[in-house]
Symmetry: C2
Subunit: 326 residues, 2 copies
């Protein structure tokens, strides 16, 4: 999954003030500590993907949801670490399914250390996320994160339920985006708001919308590629039987796609050909427009009394999510 | 993993009084609710192994650690459910590694629903465990369970670090038993004691010892079989590269085993032949004796002022763990 560019992230860190950089540095240190403190195998096979990659978008959201300028605090660091650990756990487990060799240009845990290693590593990251919050002594962050982690898994199960079903409804697809991606973005904002005394439910809704848009655009990228950018062949979702908005919409527009038997798409070439048809149908513009509307609504619905600096930083993140597509 | 017989479990439930049965029934209901409330796939593929199998030894320990007669309470049910969910999550994930088709005579989640299904199911069970405790509103149980869940994963990683290393030290093997099995038994006792106002650290130590003995005897069973009882071929650990006490000790006694290259053991027949050598060396009696000593010490170290009925129930569990070997 590609993330907003380094420039956006830098801009958000700058907008958040000096505290943001300090929190993010401590998050990074905590991740390194964790990966290096659990035996030789994890240090050897896990360090690369877990500590060296990613833009840390979720920890960044935790920071700015707390309030701008960001005030470094133990509870903020814990919340940021916990959210990123849950995210990292799902990535490590996802790679077991996909048998992916590379993530962010580095060998995945499963490729380097095998399935046992990747499974146990994901489980460890998962449980350390809750240990991190439990050490803080507050129950509400744990409620938020455990609900979000359950939603992530439910989203995966829903995706499996819907696999190869090209007739899946758009509403159900959007609910899957919410569960798979929106809810952890929501949790990031809620945890930050909780730590910083900002309005929890309003920022939570903002986070969820941004997360849904992120997933929508990711699903568009799966169709457009190019592989050098996404790190996977065009149409990887099609080959997995994962039906996303571009295909749902394209099937309404193109009778050939409406008749398509997904299971008959077996090679990368066939997948690319279906991607071309989806593109030609105009469905990508539709999906992109949907994502942009979600982001625009999210920005418009931010509370009017939100401090201007915090609003500006949140809008930067929202714009970053959109720009990842451009 | 075979568990103490149904008779032992029944005896413990009886010793715990009517409250025990009520708590155990509610645990079962909660597990069914959970598995049936997350989509068609989980209900179809997960229900069998998750809700229909197992003696629920850990929830039982939670109950009697709280005090005998067991007083049904919401916090006790939550603790019992949470511990069993973590255990179930690790089983579902273990089956992904082993590619096991059957567990307790029923199809595993991975065999029935595939890897994605099994991974997401394990992740869901994991996060529901913490959600269950978070709903109770107390932080200490979450500290206990997140530390235990981390230890389980660390134990798996340690096992991977030590794979194929026949020279692994006995102390390191015992530490692995503690992490893989002892710590969750400890957590069960601590959570129960916490809910019931019983002495937490003393019962925790008891639980950990019982768990270590359980693992030791399980490792003996891997050598002795028979497969009809254990559900796996004799010497499955050898084929995995997992070095356990029977082999560690047998290598000290039999020069042929001392020279053995584990990676050369490739077939079930070769594994069975090595099992025969281990048996002939007398190492199984050594390992069994070690397990019995651990259990005897655990019983002897129970606090002298523990109410008699509770002590009797705990001793029943301890005896049950030992009897599973006989």
């Amino acid at each position: 999954m590609s993330t907003p560019g380094a420039e956006t992230v830098e801009a958000v860190v700058e907008a958040g003030g000096a505290g943001t950089g300090r929190v993010m540095t401590r998050v990074e240190e905590r991740m390194v500590e964790l990966v290096s403190g659990h035996g030789a195998s994890l240090a050897r096979h896990g360090a690369e993907t877990i500590t060296a990659g990613g833009k840390r978008l979720r920890p960044l959201l935790v920071c700015i949801a707390a309030g701008v300028p960001v005030a470094e605090s133990e509870s903020l660091v814990r919340a940021a670490v916990a959210v990123e650990l849950v995210h990292a756990a799902t990535l490590v487990h996802d790679d077991v399914i996909d048998g992916a060799n590379l993530r962010r240009g580095r060998p995945t845990v499963v490729a380097s250390g095998g399935r046992l290693m990747a499974l146990a590593t994901g489980d460890l990251l998962f449980s350390r996320a809750f240990a991190e919050l439990a050490a803080g002594g507050e129950i509400e962050p744990i409620r938020i994160l455990s609900a979000a982690a359950s939603a992530l898994a439910s989203g995966e199960l829903m995706q499996r339920d819907d696999a190869w079903n090209a007739d899946v409804a758009q509403e159900r697809y959007l609910e899957r985006c919410r569960l798979k991606t929106g809810v952890l973005f929501r949790a990031a904002c809620e945890l930050g708001a909780l730590a910083g005394g900002a309005p929890i439910s309003a920022l939570g809704r903002f986070g969820e919308s941004i997360g849904v848009a992120f997933q929508l655009l990711d699903d568009v990228l799966d169709v457009t590629g190019p592989p050098e950018r996404t790190g996977k062949p065009r149409g990887a979702d099609l080959l997995d039987g994962t039906v996303t908005l571009p295909l749902i919409e394209a099937r309404k527009r193109d009778p050939q796609l409406a008749r398509l038997d997904l299971r008959a798409v077996e090679s990368a070439e066939e997948a690319a050909a279906v991607c071309d048809l989806i593109e030609a149908s105009g469905a990508l513009e539709f999906a992109r427009y949907h994502a942009l509307s979600v982001v625009a609504d999210a920005k418009a619905e931010l509370p009017t009394d939100l401090p201007e600096a915090q609003r500006a930083a949140l809008e930067l993140v929202a714009d970053g999510v959109v720009e990842r597509y451009s």
